[in-house]
Symmetry: C2
Subunit: 209 residues, 2 copies
């Protein structure tokens, strides 16, 4: 099957959104926790987390200021921080429910039934139920002029894990932690590892590690 | 377990890269196909594909110009196009092997044993073995000043699928196509859908769809 620009143009708006969101492949599934300066908290599901670099440790989320994501974005601008919380099977439906259009005075934590947790290093709330989570300090916002989206870049300040998921070489076994993945806008998946593969070289075969 | 900035600083370089790459959650696993103006092809595995928007359909990859990814980036600048190819179980080891440091005159297609395929709409090569693939035209490069990475943004011009994976509402069933996901730098996973969930509303419960 082949689809070209004429096909794209003839797609109904939500059909097109679902189509191109799926095409991007599996994505990280995280809840972004924020607060405003009056300690009104917010929690929002995101599938656009990107690893930007390890030294310094940087990641980004993509926000559309005109959407429900605006509470998250406004809170990040007001407080300079946010938390990123992995999602597992026990609360993925609650994670999805955070995408409903709650009002500004409603906290998604309370509305969907997840628990706020704080560390001394972050005023943004963590999700207690999350097996792997980290707190970021806002370091830059990059506007993607083409479609007015914003790449919100954070520097990781703290990482919290419920168990010891870190292997000898630094790899974090997020499958063991139960972290899930998402495809499209609404499809939630568990994972099954086939293998970890050794560093690729041109003169020797790959090994499973 | 808690990790803070002092812990990050004391990590050995490769340990830190593996740690923070894993923390970002599951990522899309794709092969980027390119060519230079002399029809010397290149194929490289990426885990940084991001969906940027559906109208127009935009996606991005993140490149580090000083790394093995530079052949890909130079080809994209020279020809303004690239292909994005999903990876399945039958060739994920070959996909990983493309990350070895092959020389400029070597094509990863030949070196790892994958097949080039062309459409009239793209001079960049597709991967025949890939179940879902699309061709992009370069539209913008955004530099992330913080760590000198580049967000290479493409507009999707053509989508090719080996089977009919598109559901009634536009959702592309990439799990049915066998598309895989990656965590960290080297861990390859299949997926198991738990559910698709209905559009979230504040006044009615979620349904599985």
């Amino acid at each position: 099957m082949q689809f070209t620009e004429n096909d794209f143009l003839s797609m109904e708006q939500r059909y097109r959104a679902s189509f191109f969101n799926s095409l991007g492949g599996f994505k990280s599934l995280v809840l972004i926790g924020t607060t405003n300066t009056q300690k009104q908290t917010n929690l929002a599901v995101f599938n656009s987390l990107m690893h930007l670099g390890a030294n310094p440790p940087l990641c980004s989320i993509l926000v559309r200021p005109a959407s429900v994501e605006r509470h998250t974005y406004e809170n990040i601008l007001a407080t300079n921080c946010f938390t990123v919380n992995h999602v597992n099977e026990s609360f993925y439906k609650q994670a999805h429910q955070t995408s409903a259009r709650y009002l500004r005075h409603q906290s998604e934590f309370k509305e969907v039934g997840l628990t706020e947790e704080y560390s001394t290093l972050s005023i943004a709330p963590y999700v207690t139920e999350s097996p792997i989570k980290f707190a970021c300090e806002l370091v830059q916002v990059v506007e993607i002029e083409l479609n007015k989206t914003l790449l919100v870049i954070g520097k990781i300040k703290e990482v919290i894990m419920q168990g010891d998921y870190v292997l000898e070489d630094g790899f974090v076994d997020i499958e063991k932690a139960g972290s899930m993945t998402v495809s499209g806008l609404d499809s939630y998946h568990k994972t099954n590892r086939l293998a970890r593969l050794s560093y690729a070289k041109t003169d020797s075969p790959l090994k499973e590690i």
